[in-house]
Symmetry: C2
Subunit: 197 residues, 2 copies
C-alpha cells in the first residue's frame, strides 16, 4: 500500500472515536454523553486560547497535535473514568499501549513513530509541552462540571482532594489558571458537588 | 471582565457546536448524523497526516487553527448543506459573518482580531494555508460518502460535476490527492452514488 492509501485508511479509522462515549455531559445538547472526538476538538481549542497564561515556553503546534491524538487509543481501549481505582487505570494503560501500536501503526513508519512518541510524551507528562497539554485536558471537565451542577463529580461522589491532585499540573505551568481552579473547587464544595475530603 | 474570564467564557460557548448536526453520517456510530465539533476534530487531524502531499509551502499551525475554528460560526448560523442553492449559500454567509463577530467577540480584542481574520482567510481561500485547509474540509465528506454507499450525495441526488468543482482546490495544492479524488468520483458514478452530469 502506498503512503497516501495508508494515511487515508488511518483517517477513516478515526471515525470510530465518535462512538466512544465519556462521563462528561453536553449541556448544550440535552445533557447527552460527550464523545471523545468532540472532546478532543474542544481541548485542542483550549490550548491556543489559554497559551498566554503559560509560564514555561511551549511549542503550540506540538501541544495541539498531542491534544488531537491523545484519545485515539480509546478506539480500542475505551474510555476510563478519571477517578477510577488505580488497578483499573494501570490495566487501561496496557490496553492503550497496544491500541497506539495498532492504530498509529496504520500510518507510514515515520508518522507511526512520530504519533506514538507524541502520545507517550503526553501520557508521561514530563516535558513542558506535555504538561500544558495535560493541564488543558484536565481543566475542561472541571469547567463543564461547574456549568452542570457538579456533573460527573456529583454523579460519582468525587472528592475535593482528587480534583485538586488531578489539576495540579496547572500550579507550575499556569499559576493564574491554577488560582481560578482552586476557587472553583471551593465553590463546588460549598454547593455540595464535591465531597470535602 | 479580565482576559482569563473572557477566554473561559468563549471556551464554554464552544460546547454548543456539539449540538450542530450536519448531513454527513457517522458509520461507526449506527449512522447517526455527525456534529460540527467532531467533524472539526477529524479535519484538523487530516492536515498533519496529509501535509507531505502539499505542493505549496504551508504553515501547519495556522492551517490547524483554521480547521479548528472554521465551523464555530455555525453555533449561531447553523449548518448549510454544501450543495445548496447559491442564494441560500449567500444568505448563509451574512449570518456567519454576524456569528463570527459575536462569538469570537467573546475573546479579548487581540484574539478576537486573530480568530476573525483566520476565519475570513479560510472563507476566502486565497492563501496557500487557507486553500490547504479548505481542501481538507472538502475531501473528508468524500471519503465518508465513499465508505457509506454514497451517503449524503446519494440522499440528495448530487452530481459528479458538483463534487469535482468542490474539490478542485486539490488540483494545484495536492496533485496526488486530486488524482485519488478523481478516481473515487468515477467509482461513485459507476456505483450510482453520484449522477453522471
Amino acid at each position: 500500500m502506498d503512503a497516501l492509501a495508508q494515511q487515508l485508511n488511518f483517517i477513516l479509522e478515526l471515525d470510530k472515536l465518535k462512538a466512544v462515549y465519556r462521563q462528561a455531559l453536553v449541556k448544550a445538547d440535552n445533557n447527552r454523553q460527550e464523545n471523545s472526538a468532540e472532546h478532543s476538538w474542544h481541548i485542542a481549542m483550549l490550548a491556543p486560547v489559554l497559551q498566554e497564561h503559560v509560564a514555561e515556553e511551549v511549542d503550540l503546534l506540538r501541544v495541539i497535535k498531542m491534544l488531537l491524538i491523545h484519545d485515539i487509543v480509546e478506539i480500542d481501549a475505551g474510555d476510563t473514568f478519571a477517578f477510577s481505582e488505580q488497578g483499573d487505570l494501570d490495566a487501561q494503560h496496557g490496553k492503550e499501549l497496544a491500541a497506539a501500536n495498532r492504530i498509529f501503526g496504520l500510518l507510514p513508519e515515520s508518522q507511526f513513530q512520530e504519533y506514538r512518541s507524541l502520545w507517550l510524551e503526553f501520557e508521561e507528562a514530563t516535558t513542558a509541552d506535555a504538561r500544558f497539554a495535560k493541564a488543558m485536558d484536565r481543566i475542561l471537565p472541571l469547567l463543564q462540571n461547574m456549568q452542570n451542577e457538579g456533573g460527573s463529580w456529583a454523579k460519582h461522589g468525587v472528592k475535593k482532594s482528587q480534583v485538586l491532585k488531578r489539576n495540579q499540573y496547572l500550579e507550575v505551568i499556569a499559576p493564574a489558571i491554577w488560582q481560578y481552579v482552586c476557587a472553583q473547587i471551593e465553590i463546588a464544595v460549598n454547593k455540595g458537588w464535591l465531597k470535602d475530603q
